[in-house]
């Protein structure tokens, strides 16, 4: 009886016109879903790094440095150009375990605590993931997590220690049209764009050296990128941070700047709190995008980017982003078409600039 019901159910299930979407969009979505549903708060990026490695083309032989950054060097000869997207996401670190078994938390990155309290939580011990909840706060006090234990010993018996990280469950969800929501699109979209570009790129046709980096601990001070910059020093001729363009494309945001609508293409992040793109480089990027038929918006937003730390060695930073709504919230929203276009632009910047 049950089997018959299930058969009827399958027949009834709506047809899936997603198959009619361009293959590039379907490929981008599948990759992004995998990366978004992998957890990697700052300092514990290993699962995301492994996911990136698995997603790279077969010919790629990436290396991990002592800072946890993933490096892939493609092509040879001068000059050297660097692309960098970060692996980590915002979250919390366990700073202590209270007598009553609850976890005392400290934020990793910029967050509004209101968006985390009274929500499900996950504690990442490195070997397993333990569910709990972020406790509601009576006031604006410190955020804590409850893992269902009533004593410090009980919590420790679960394998939880100071230094473990805490996030909330996340899920990639397709919205209407080409929109999608999830947490940690910042910077899984950038990481995905670099992978998609590499899948389309023929390394034998590159005219010079291109280094693709997936960096660690961006959200807590661009730490991984700083280690990479100190390693490369004066070698690169330019760096492209492939990271979020925090957009004011929402009724809640002031419209003074950062107005980059979703679905209108990637954004040259020409000025932020950490870097200014040299005007000549910006013009070159705009020309490149036009030649390649890639829609490109130009804008200014807030935040810092990994490319900026290369500035200590005089390396021009030409960051490229995509418009993101509700940054660092559990419900970031993107338009998948912007990811596809961003990947095209990364490929073009590696091959033709």
């Amino acid at each position: 009886m049950t089997a018959r019901w299930l058969a009827l159910l399958l027949l009834w299930w709506p047809s899936v016109p997603a198959a009619q979407e361009p293959s590039s969009l379907r490929e981008a979505e599948a990759l992004l879903e995998t990366l978004v549903e992998t957890y990697g708060p700052s300092g514990m990026e290993a699962p995301v790094r492994d996911a990136v490695k698995r997603a790279l083309p077969e010919w790629a032989k990436p290396q991990t440095d002592s800072a946890g950054n993933l490096w892939l060097t493609v092509g040879q000869g001068e000059p050297t150009v660097v692309f960098v997207a970060h692996l980590d996401e915002v979250g919390f670190v366990v700073r202590g375990i209270a007598e009553n078994g609850s976890l005392e938390l400290e934020a990793l990155g910029g967050i509004f605590p209101e968006l985390w309290e009274a929500r499900p939580a996950l504690v990442h011990t490195g070997s397993e993931t333990i569910p709990g909840v972020f406790q509601p706060r009576d006031s604006t006090g410190t955020l804590r997590a409850d893992v269902g234990s009533s004593s410090r010993a009980g919590t420790e018996a679960l394998g939880i220690r100071t230094g473990d990280t805490v996030t909330m469950p996340k899920e990639y969800v397709r919205l209407a049209g080409y929109r999608a929501t999830g947490r940690s699109f910042d910077d899984r979209v950038g990481s995905a764009a670099q992978i998609l570009a590499l899948r389309q790129l023929d390394p034998r046709r590159l005219k010079h050296t291109v280094i693709f980096l997936w960096s660690t601990r961006e959200e807590i001070g661009l730490e991984g990128a700083r280690a990479a910059a100190d390693s490369l020093r004066f070698l690169p001729v330019r760096v492209h941070a492939i990271d979020t363009f925090v957009s004011a494309d929402s009724p809640l945001e002031p419209q003074a700047f950062a107005v980059a609508p979703l679905g209108h293409g990637p954004v040259a992040r020409a000025l932020d709190n950490s870097a200014v793109t040299p005007p000549a480089y910006l013009d070159s990027l705009v020309t490149l995008a036009r030649r390649q038929g890639v829609p490109l918006q130009v804008g200014t937003t807030n935040g810092g980017n990994d490319g900026s730390v290369f500035g200590a060695y005089g390396v021009p930073d030409v960051p490229i982003g995509w418009p993101l709504r509700y940054s660092h919230s559990p419900v970031e929203v993107i338009d998948l078409r912007d990811l596809v276009s961003l990947a095209q632009l990364v490929k073009a910047a590696a091959e033709a600039w």
Binding site: W5, L9, S15, E114, T140, Y172, L175, R179, S250, Y326
Partner: protein, 317 residues
């Protein structure tokens, strides 16, 4: 999870109801072995905003042999007969929101469901995944929140939030696109329900206390099918107890009423002004973090409540 993506949305409530129907023929012992926890989790994952409880009532009706639905929408099992009348009753509804308007930019605005104003309830919407129950099924969406990067120099707290500040983002860019997805003014909106287990036996979800209490009563009523007590699952408790009043007026007067609920959600005045309910005794399931999206119950306590209700049902002569 996949959402709509231009494809017809999946009517999750239909599927849940279907699953409940498929299992409704099982004997109680089989249901119990499948777990009271399973029933609690299923009910906690369902939606029954005040005034829009029909699908929940459908499921209860399918699971409770001998029950009927009255004109108010309550599900009641009334063995009839004369003598001392006793009622065991649990409310089905939960606070929620409905679509108030479709904006030209594709965002939806909201109106809170009628009933008690619960402090902080609207703020739960901010930056949350929500479900819009459209004419074409359940649509995933989110409620807009300010980007922390764009608030620099303007404070690091989100400040006060009410449902008037809630902009629902379905991914639509125009009102017509939202409408094509089946969204209308009055479409029901709730926080996305993802019952979350943690600890040894804890379950967290919005309104879980009430759902778990109703699951305990439902299991108890199924276990004692021959009870002389009237068993009811009532609608619109949050709106002046309209469902409960209807049961009292239709099936009463009762000598005694046992009002079963989660400890967080019991109105202090339940039945106090209705003599047709007789002596009202509240039986409450302890709840942790009441009224929040992680309202938590212990499955051991739910099982104890079920066993207590079984004894009470057997005790009604």
């Amino acid at each position: 999870m996949r959402g709509t993506g231009g494809r017809p949305p999946v009517p999750l409530a239909f599927l849940l109801t279907l699953l409940l129907l498929l299992t409704s023929g099982l004997p109680v012992s089989a249901q119990s072995s499948a777990g009271l926890g399973g029933l609690v989790q299923r009910l906690a994952g369902m939606t029954a905003v005040t005034g829009y409880e029909q699908r929940m009532a459908d499921s209860i009706l399918a699971l409770l042999p001998g029950a009927t639905r009255d004109r108010a929408g309550n599900v009641v099992r009334d063995p009839g007969g004369k003598g001392r009348r006793v009622l065991l009753v649990c409310p089905l509804d939960e606070p929620g929101w409905v679509v108030g308007s479709l904006r030209s930019d594709g965002y939806l605005t909201l109106r809170r469901s009628p009933g008690r104003a619960i402090p902080g309830r609207d703020a739960q919407l901010q930056g949350a995944r929500i479900d819009v129950h459209s004419r074409r099924g359940v649509l995933p969406g989110v409620v807009a929140v300010r980007s922390i990067h764009l608030t620099r120099g303007r404070g690091t707290s989100l400040g006060e939030f009410t449902s008037d500040s809630a902009y629902v983002d379905l991914g639509a860019s125009t009102a017509a696109e939202a409408e094509s997805l089946g969204v209308r003014v009055l479409s029901v909106v709730t926080l996305a329900k993802r019952p979350h287990r943690y600890g040894a036996d804890l379950l967290a979800a919005p309104s879980t206390g009430r759902r778990a209490a109703c699951a305990a009563l439902l299991e108890a009523a199924r276990a004692v099918g021959s009870s002389r007590a009237v068993v009811g699952f009532v609608v619109e408790q949050e709106l002046s107890e309209r469902g409960l009043t209807t049961v009292a007026n239709r099936a009463g007067p009762f000598a005694q009423t046992f009002f079963v609920d989660g400890s967080s959600t019991v109105s202090t005045s339940t039945g106090a002004t209705n003599p047709a309910l007789g002596q009202v005794t509240r039986i409450t399931l302890p709840v942790r973090y009441p009224g929040t999206p992680v309202e938590t119950v212990s499955m051991a306590e739910v099982a104890r409540l079920r066993d207590d209700l079984i004894e009470r049902l057997r005790g009604v002569k």
